[in-house]
Subunit: 184 residues, 2 copies
Amino acid sequence: MPSNAGRAPFAMPVDDGAPPKIPRSDSALVELAMRKHVLLYGLIGGVLIAGLKFIEYRWLVVDHSVEIYGALVAAVFAGLGIWLGLRLTRPARHTETVVVREVRVEAPVEFVRDRDKVASLGITPRELEILELIAAGLSNKEIAARVFVSENTVKTHSSRVFDKLGARRRTQAVQLGKELRLIP
Amino acid sequence: MPSNAGRAPFAMPVDDGAPPKIPRSDSALVELAMRKHVLLYGLIGGVLIAGLKFIEYRWLVVDHSVEIYGALVAAVFAGLGIWLGLRLTRPARHTETVVVREVRVEAPVEFVRDRDKVASLGITPRELEILELIAAGLSNKEIAARVFVSENTVKTHSSRVFDKLGARRRTQAVQLGKELRLIP
DNA sequence: CCCAAAATCACCCATTCGGATGACGCGCCC
DNA sequence: GGGCGCGTCATCCGAATGGGTGATTTTGGG
């Protein structure tokens, strides 16, 4: 834009100034762009006023200092207004729309024991433990060795849990136990 | 979110001169909008000043009215600036943060038989069938009745599959079979 | 402290299961 | 035709399992 370089008083303060001191913020880019536009605006304003001034001179306007004063005030307050507007809307700019997208994750689907069912069937902790070991494929003897009891005890426990599950074989007990979410 | 949503209110007939550049990005769009508004602003400013000038002449404002004039200009331009600032930041307010939250979804994960493992273990279809029925909790006799063979045949099949799996008990065979994805 | 539930152990008996072995028939392929 | 894989069936035997009964000890709560 051609400026009236001849008129020193019209050198807009924004022209040489406006040091690009950009505050570090997430919207630094937007602010930079805006600053650019404030400059542009000032420039246009200056040209406009210059035009008016020229017209004023052409028409022998008495006092032109009022226009300069007004233009300066206008420019300054416009900048202030923009800045204020940005200030005021800053919190609003943090408005974000949270979109929750459900993503299918290959989850091992960790086991959750159905304690209610365990309770309703009257299965004791020990019996459940034995059932788990049966499901692991251990024999009564191995289970007895692992939990430090006699094989007879293991048999008793398993018999009881079979009874409570209505199972006649250990494989059936395992199947039912898994189905009823008593064991993993 | 349609990016031109913020643009719609600014569709002004004043600035057709602006080449309809294809908005490559949001920043380009913001700049375009801003240019429009700077032009509009300048126009309004010019009109305002002209109006004030007219008023000034009409009412023969004295020297003291300069303050009033300045204040008016300041107030008006400050308001304009605020309005402009708000307008300009509107696109920023549309900033949308997409938060992808991974949600564990119960995935049924239907069973897929590991045929390679079946083949590598040399397990025949019949043996696999028997293994499945064993896993279902059936006794050899029940299996025999279901597949219409003698119990001895079932025993042979199960013995073979136990051998191939390295299992010593049917519960262990079931456990291994599930672990190796041979059966559901 | 007492009681009931739970856990422990034992014995007996019948059934089931697992291992080993042998045999027969059928379809397939070299 | 002979070999091979697969499915079928059988017999014997020992081990494991399931069912029933009874008993003792431990434990937790009223």
